[in-house]
């Protein structure tokens, strides 16, 4: 079939289309082969270890129906805790990010200094160490729960990365926009709210989405301070049942569910912002 299309009497346009189609097919085929090989390797490996697959035992850790009533299992409860931690930490990290970005851009020497110290300290120490410091030192001093210690720690950590992205977006707005806004007599607050941020946010969204996805993934770290999130629940179940493969794969799948949904939401936002901007 393709040989005929590629023969010399086919029009160049047809030829190009056939070639593109063929490249696409090769692409898909190699992907299928790759996934199949990977699956086969895992199964072979498990078989070699004499692993006893027990997928049928997994659903009860998600939900059970007793007397016609749905009872949520530990994995679902853990998922909800993870969602809760992530959602609160996201809002806080964006607030921190915006504040720090504005501090870094402010004319105040002290403000810029504080922002710099925060960024360098947070970005250059391990998250795990920060969690431990938050839990064993800051939470003890402030008398806050481990849940809030985890939330605050994540917000402070991801806030540093968000701050740099937000700053980048603000700086990318053309100088003329600032000048026009100032020349019209807008106050600094209005310059940001009405002129700079509406133009900067669409630029920030794609990299910010990355930070938010990271935040969800990094939230697994609160399991070291015994917050009953998805990862902690998974570990408990594996310790009880020895179903390491099934449970960890399920946990990974649940994280993927959250992060992919988040990516789609941000994509939708991007589209919406993109529509009114014809520039």
């Amino acid at each position: 079939m393709t040989g005929q299309a590629l023969s010399s009497n086919a029009s160049p346009r047809q030829r190009r289309r056939t070639l593109a189609l063929r490249a696409r097919l090769i692409d898909i085929a190699s992907f299928v082969v790759f996934v199949a090989a990977l699956g086969w390797l895992v199964l072979r490996g498990a078989q070699g270890m004499g692993y006893n697959w027990q997928w049928f035992r997994v659903p009860r850790y998600l939900w059970r129906v007793i007397d016609g009533q749905v009872i949520w299992g530990p994995l679902t409860k853990g998922l909800l805790v993870t969602l809760q931690i992530s959602a609160i930490a996201m809002v806080l990290s964006l607030v921190i990010g915006l504040t720090v970005a504005l501090l870094r851009l402010s004319p105040s020497f002290v403000g810029r200094g504080i922002a710099r110290v925060y960024l360098e300290v947070i970005r250059n120490t391990p998250l795990l160490v920060q969690v431990l410091i938050f839990y064993f030192i800051i939470a003890q001093i402030l008398g806050i729960s481990r849940f809030w210690a985890g939330v605050l720690c994540l917000a402070v950590y991801e806030g540093a990365f968000a701050a740099e992205i937000i700053r980048g977006g603000i700086v990318a707005v053309r100088r003329g926009q600032w000048e026009a806004a100032r020349a019209l007599g807008l106050r600094p607050f209005d310059v940001y709210r009405d002129v700079v941020l509406p133009q900067a946010v669409p630029l920030m969204l794609p990299p910010l989405a990355g930070v938010l996805v990271n935040l969800v993934k990094h939230s697994a770290i609160v399991s070291v301070i015994a917050v009953f999130d998805l990862t902690t629940e998974g570990r408990t179940i594996v310790a009880d049942t020895f179903m390491a493969f099934e449970i960890w794969l399920t946990v990974a799948g649940l994280y993927l569910l959250i992060t992919l949904t988040l990516s789609l939401l941000v994509l939708g936002l991007e589209r919406r912002f993109g529509r009114s901007r014809h520039a």
Binding site: R174, A180, A183, L184, G185, L186, R187, D194, A279
Partner: protein
């Protein structure tokens, strides 16, 4: 003349440096209400910097700038007060791309003047009519031609009802066939008695509307003269050379 016969804008002994580069050297200039001043000179001569100092987009390092009786200094309240009285039109238009033409004209009225919405819209339409593009009010800047964008920018400034308008090479970024529509609007404005300072190379426009020509070179005001004398018999050799270069073709 504004109140007490004071000049609308008075610069005395103004100096400015960008790092070690001396952009403005001992500038003295007085502009009275209703005067139309055209500032010209080779690029890098400090013309743009000069007018950008008047609304504090640039800070001068020495000397005094007084606009409508208010002295420009560190006090942000004075700066804000002056910016309310002084409109500016830029070479690159600098319309807000995320706002419609109408909202471009409404925004500052609402925020800086606290004008009620209906009134702000009405005024915006009034000035859009004046620059002859009321039918574009619902469009976004990127949908307009350069000339139309610049006219919107003029309308946006006029909506603040400024006492002075600054034009920073308003036609330099435009295609030749669009220059006229912008200049026509500016001539209109000049004939309505607006105090204007224009940095421009449009000598036809200058001849037509200017009361006063200012020629700058290397950060200095080399010559100030009424247009007839400026074009017919420039006093300085530097001005003669400049004019011969830009008027020769």
């Amino acid at each position: 003349m504004s109140r007490d016969g004071q000049p609308m804008i008075a610069l005395s002994g103004v100096n400015k440096w960008f790092g070690t580069f001396h952009v403005l050297k001992d500038i003295d200039l007085e502009i009275h209400a209703g005067q139309r001043v055209v500032v010209c000179g080779p690029s890098g001569s400090g013309k743009s910097t000069l007018i950008r100092c008047i609304n504090r987009l640039e800070e001068h390092d020495e000397g005094q700038i007084v606009v409508d009786g208010i002295t420009l200094d560190e006090d942000m309240r004075n700066v804000a007060a002056i910016r309310r009285e002084v409109g500016m039109v830029f070479q690159q238009f600098n319309l807000f791309p995320h706002l419609s033409v109408l909202d471009n004209c409404v925004l500052a009225q609402r925020r800086a003047r606290g004008t009620p919405k209906a009134e702000a819209r009405e005024r915006a339409m009034h000035y859009l009519e004046r620059v002859r593009i009321p039918e574009q009010a619902a469009k976004y800047p990127a949908q307009l031609s350069g000339g139309q964008q610049q006219r919107v920018a003029i309308a946006r400034s006029l909506c603040m009802e400024p006492k002075v308008m600054l034009f920073d090479e308003p036609t330099s970024a435009l295609d030749p066939e669009m220059i006229k529509e912008v200049l026509d609007v500016m001539i209109d404005l000049a004939q309505s008695g607006m105090t204007m300072i224009c940095v421009t190379h449009e000598m036809g426009f200058a001849r037509k509307v200017a009361d006063k020509m200012v020629f700058m070179d290397h950060g200095r005001i080399v010559e100030t003269a009424p247009p007839d004398r400026f074009f017919a018999a420039p006093a300085s050799e530097r001005t003669q050379l400049f004019l011969s270069q830009i008027l020769s073709h």
